[in-house]
Subunit: 243 residues, 2 copies
């Protein structure tokens, strides 16, 4: 069991950058590259990948963000310091690379690191779909890093990680937990106009926390206990009202 | 007094790399670039420098290493992992970037960071002339980093920029949340023999997630809603049993 990284480039525009990213990945021992609707990859991409042509040519190409993160236990979106306001807007805390490193310590699983378009980064709806956001501290004077530089810096910070013994919960179990939470919100008659926001917030909190299988089970047990208590009170009341 | 960095590129061969280095420097708040016998710097260098054309055009061009380090209090040469043998050969310890950061803590002065040729790095006589050597930990499979990536990673590690600064929930509010959770466990009659472990687990999960003030409020609201529903069911049942 270990920590595995996947690099996801969303709609990269310059093939030289994609090649450079492949090279940085191989430098840091990474090979899992996924490209969402990339630009054409021809001679310049290969030239910039240098001896990482295998990583470049082994890249999986997909059409949606959803396909790109399939099988990942945790998604971490990168965003420029200039998007600090976005971070606030989507109400996700902005971590630094060392923060992320600290949070991942001791974890096992597949982590998707996502990088946005060279010109506009991620849209807000994309940012909202990630478990965590990371930003590389840069100068306010010129905060926009080259795409491959951002990848190199993040992999430099995170590749040192040694796989720990704590396995991350499977996607499947996490979804059961989330569905269970949704059901619970129904049962406690949570105000409908707040429900959607709260559902998203719960997903983000638990996504960020990187739950272990045991923690997922305990949380579901807790929900079940709450539901049972609720139902027994309701049954009692309905039994009494009928008799 | 503070720590000032100078980036010295020794005989860089590709103008795109020089432009990219200028960009990485500006991203990390650095402007002092010295080029020893560089290649021609034309359109591609300017293109890759992007909004750091001022750094590129302000670079000082010299003919010798000696001129390049003039005025520096300390010289740090970078060398690839493949040059580890060189490092041994010249009898200088090979530091990692965090080692260097640690060593420079509290120092003031001008530090020259030197980067060698894209193909052959530094000659031994050059390596011997440096005060320290630093190497970026890379994969043995493909240790040779792109020049501008190496600059980006080192400046990332050494530039004293702070990032992120997420507004985290106050301890006080977190404690209120935890107390509220404890109370909720009571109310749903959570099995006493499991309670202590679950309490701890909940604290760990939420501690790890690094909750924002808003998230704490939403979670408390959710608990309140659950309690209210529970109580109304119970009151109903007690009302009905009394009547």
């Amino acid at each position: 069991m270990s920590l595995e990284l996947r690099v996801v480039l969303v709609e990269p525009m310059y093939q030289g950058n994609v090649g450079s990213v492949a090279r940085a990945m191989k430098n840091f021992g990474q090979t899992d590259l996924v490209l969402v609707n990339p630009c054409k990859l021809e001679g310049q991409a290969r030239a910039m990948s240098s001896h990482a042509r295998d990583v470049l040519e082994g890249a999986r190409k997909v059409h949606t963000l959803k396909e790109a993160v399939e099988g990942a236990n945790l998604t971490i979106g990168t965003t420029g310091a200039s998007s600090k306001k976005n971070g606030e807007h989507v109400r996700l805390p902005l971590y630094t690379p060392p923060d992320i490193k600290e949070k991942l310590k001791g974890y096992s699983g597949k982590i998707a690191l996502l990088f946005g378009r060279e010109d506009n980064g991620f849209r807000n709806d994309e940012l909202k779909s990630f478990d965590m956001l990371v930003t590389i501290p840069t100068s306010d004077v010129y905060p926009i890093m080259n795409l491959s530089h951002a990848v190199a810096v993040l992999l430099y910070e995170l590749s040192e990680l040694e796989g720990g013994k704590t396995p991350l919960a499977e996607d499947f179990d996490l979804h059961l937990l989330y569905e269970h939470m949704d059901k619970f919100l129904e049962e406690i008659e949570y105000p409908p106009h707040k429900k959607e926001k709260t559902r998203l917030m719960l997903r983000r909190i638990y996504g960020r926390a990187g739950l272990t299988p045991r923690e997922v089970q305990t949380l579901r047990g807790l929900l079940r206990k709450g539901e049972r208590k609720l139902r027994s009170s309701e049954e009692e009341s309905s039994f009494l009202s009928e008799n």
